[in-house]
């Protein structure tokens, strides 16, 4: 039954913008258009910037994630939807997170973002709470938006996407014109729900899923009782953005396509195995999180190495998650047959594994079993569970179990020791059913710590040391102990410890290219700003640095991949007709980055105290960890700390190392705040806001209370 229908005039995109957005309130069935103003374009550019701005205007400091006024905003960006440059079909999703209570942003591939754009909108705001499950349908060719009651019983994304693709497509040929946004059954029962964005894979004749994984956005989606969003758009072409200079975009794209064709096999093999190419590299450099980040490598990593996955993942298909992406990293294992759960024995497509999944669902929980990782990957996706949060929180639970904080009685019989694949899968199935210990685990590490301390009498200091969350969000999958810069790359972030702001481990720990605090601070300014820019545009980060020109190594700053930075300047100018350079690119990001920081402050967070990190991210918490790398740590005590380890107990050595490392992090924090133009409490100064043109009255009003 259709609850509300809204008709709109089809429009034409001009230089990357429709200049309007779509607002839908599922509580009172309001559907309306809003103007995208020049102010919005100047200050927030698009994508995540638009999402944050709309969310800012929708909520108050008192708004909680499950209040009706919380919004989910899906926005792409001015460059999104071009088909000439790889990685140009991303959507950015923003909401108040149930895990962090702050704005969360998560980027995702699939066709929804570009189709939303071609349907006439630069962003989609979803607000309110429906009484019963609803499906929202946008027909981008007819100019119709509908809110309808859901009549679908299926609760998991791989089925929902398939059913809705089938339902809204005219015929088989039309399925490629459909994209579905949905989540799964576990999003009803956990705080780590994700959103799946679909695209129809015409070669596989099956629906593929890409994930907006982080921060519980799927949980908010279900709290609003939205079953799915569906967009249909027929007529995708390479010039629908009506760019200012199509030739410039074409030339830039051709250059990168050639680079990928010539060099990918020699560099990262993205076309063969995607981001999973680095599993064994991380292991070899002692960076692969193992057993809740205690260690960085394991003797059994070869069982989940990239060649094992490559042998299972279908080869030779153009696996782009948007048209024109020749990097083709959206790999999939076809005809996979799960051994457990409701889909046991059925043939399914597993989208992945990406590196993060292999580390989270593999080494970090001790599951060195390729098909075990794939099964966990499949169920996380279709149940709507963030693989990173699931892996990291399961690793935490396993360490608690092995330390006697949890036992079979508390877990309802689950023997959650490292490596128990069956128990990890059952935990996930419990999340889907909303039962047992899965329901507790699905609350995330921060809430589990509180329960274990208050109800089970666990040692608070120990749990705070080993619980790999910060700001309420679970860490992503790199071991940062030996890289101070990466500790900052995780800790000194806006949304929590996700490496999409800065990934500096090799520059810092291995290459030693940023030895001083000032060097590290510069990197923790530049890279977060540069990477933020992808989220303003609707672009993917991977074609920036997972392929590099052959002569990149001879450039002054190879880590920045200068030629690719110029490519991005060129395609932005090519689409919009503006004339920015690489410096203005950074300022565009700074505006949104500082805005997000102030948004956090407005919500009661975003200060120095919130940037502190668990000690497991900095150094060895347990004797077992210290002793496993004793030679390294003893040497550091002697050479860096000025502490003679001779004759000292392990506890004494650990205490000296901890004191040193925690001081280093504080000094790094000082340097980074200074570089970013913030006070030593992490608050953007008014001078900084003036410098970047963000001295807006509403922002000044927030920061001045903290200066």
């Amino acid at each position: 039954m259709i609850l509300k229908e809204y008709k709109y005039e089809l429009g034409k995109i001009e230089r990357g913008y429709n200049n309007r957005s779509l607002y839908i309130n599922v509580g009172d069935n309001t559907i309306k258009e809003k103007e995208v103003t020049q102010f919005m374009k100047d200050k927030f550019i698009g994508g995540k910037g638009f999402g944050l701005w709309y969310l800012w205007n929708a909520v108050t400091p008192e708004t909680r994630w499950n209040d009706p006024e919380n919004e989910i905003v899906i926005a792409h960006g001015p460059v999104a939807g071009i088909t000439q440059y790889p990685g140009s079909g991303k959507s950015l999703v923003v909401t108040l997170s149930p895990l962090t209570h702050m704005p969360m942003d998560s980027n995702v591939g699939g066709y929804f973002g570009p189709y939303l754009k071609f349907s006439g909108f630069d962003a989609l705001e979803l607000q309110g709470k429906a009484e019963n499950d609803v499906i929202i349908y946008i027909d981008g060719n007819k100019g119709i938006v509908q809110i309808m009651e859901s009549d679908i019983e299926e609760k998991d994304s791989h089925l929902l996407s398939e059913i809705l693709t089938e339902r809204f497509a005219k015929d088989e040929e039309d399925k490629k014109n459909i994209s579905v946004v949905s989540t799964g059954s576990a999003a009803d029962h956990t705080l780590i729900g994700l959103l799946n964005f679909s695209f129809y894979d015409i070669r596989r004749k099956g629906v593929r899923l890409k994930q907006a994984g982080r921060g519980g956005i799927g949980t908010v989606f279900r709290d609003k009782k939205i079953k799915a969003l569906v967009v249909r758009f027929e007529g995708t072409k390479g010039n629908l953005n009506n760019p200012a200079d199509q030739g410039k975009i074409n030339r830039t794209g051709i250059k990168l396509h050639k680079e990928i064709c010539d060099l990918d096999d020699k560099q990262n093999r993205m076309r063969k195995i995607g981001t999973a190419n680095i599993i064994e590299v991380m292991d070899e450099y002692d960076l692969l999180p193992t057993h809740n980040y205690k260690f960085g490598c394991h003797k059994d990593t070869y069982k989940i190495s990239s060649d094992k996955f490559q042998a299972r993942v279908t080869q030779g298909l153009p696996d782009g998650c948007w048209y024109g992406c020749s990097l083709s990293c959206a790999k999939a294992a076809d005809d996979f047959i799960p051994e457990t759960g409701p889909y046991k024995g059925q043939k399914v497509i597993v989208d992945g594994p990406e590196y993060e999944n292999a580390a989270a669902l593999g080494s970090n929980i001790g599951v060195f079993d390729r098909d075990g990782v794939l099964e966990l990957n499949f169920y996380c996706d279709t149940y709507g569970v963030d693989t990173i949060s699931f892996g990291t929180l399961t690793a935490f639970v396993m360490e608690c179990y092995e330390n006697g904080i949890l036992d079979k009685e508390k877990t309802g019989g689950l023997e959650l020791y490292f490596g128990n694949k069956e128990a990890a899968l059952e935990l996930l199935h419990q999340m889907s059913r909303g039962e047992g210990f899965g329901k507790i685990a699905g609350l995330g590490i921060r809430r589990m710590k509180k329960i274990f301390i208050e109800e089970y009498g666990a040692d608070a200091d120990f749990l705070n040391d080993i619980g790999m969350e910060q700001k309420g969000l679970e860490y992503s999958e790199y071991l940062s102990k030996e890289s101070l810069a990466q500790q900052g790359g995780y800790g000194l972030t806006n949304k929590g410890p996700q490496h999409d702001e800065a990934w500096l481990i090799f520059m810092d720990m291995v290459n030693n290219q940023i030895p001083t605090f000032e060097d590290k601070a510069e990197a923790l300014h530049y890279f977060p700003m540069f990477r933020t820019w992808f989220g303003l545009m609707g672009l993917c980060k991977l074609p920036w640095n997972d392929i590099a020109p052959e002569d990149n190594k001879y450039t002054d700053e190879p880590a920045k991949i200068p030629e690719h930075v110029q490519n991005y300047v060129d395609i932005f100018n090519g689409v919009t007709g503006k004339n920015i350079d690489k410096h203005e690119l950074i300022v565009q990001s700074e505006r949104v980055y500082n805005f997000q920081r102030i948004f956090n402050i407005r919500m009661g967070y975003g200060k120095r105290i919130h940037d502190k990190t668990p000690y497991r991210s900095m150094g060895p918490v347990t004797e077992e960890e210290y002793l496993s790398r004793q030679e390294r740590y003893d040497k550091q005590l002697k050479e860096l700390v000025g502490f003679d380890p001779e004759g000292k107990t392990t506890q004494e050595k650990m205490a000296a190392l901890r004191k040193y490392r925690e001081e280093q992090y504080e000094r790094l924090t000082d340097a980074v705040y200074k570089r970013r133009g913030w006070t030593m409490d992490g608050v953007p100064t008014i001078e900084k806001l003036k410098e970047i043109g963000m001295d807006l009255p509403e922002l000044i009003e927030v920061v001045k209370k903290h200066l």
Partner: protein
């Protein structure tokens, strides 16, 4: 003794770039090597000999994640 990425590392007679990368367990395929500021081409890794006291940079071109 040689310097590798700013840190001391034991030198051995006849040490080539390839041998150094093995000893350091630098297995990542995209590594650029400089000896005393001079780029070493990948094709020379097997033959280029490192001398005692050399300053080596082994830059992993991985901006990752």
């Amino acid at each position: 003794m040689i310097q590798v990425n700013g840190k001391e590392f034991p030198w051995e007679e006849g040490m080539t770039v390839r041998r150094l990368l093995e000893l350091k367990k630098y297995s990542y395929p995209r590594i650029t090597v400089k000896i005393n500021g001079q780029f070493i081409r990948d094709e020379e890794f097997d033959t280029k000999v490192i001398h005692d006291g050399d300053e080596i940079q082994c830059i992993h071109l991985m901006a990752g994640g």
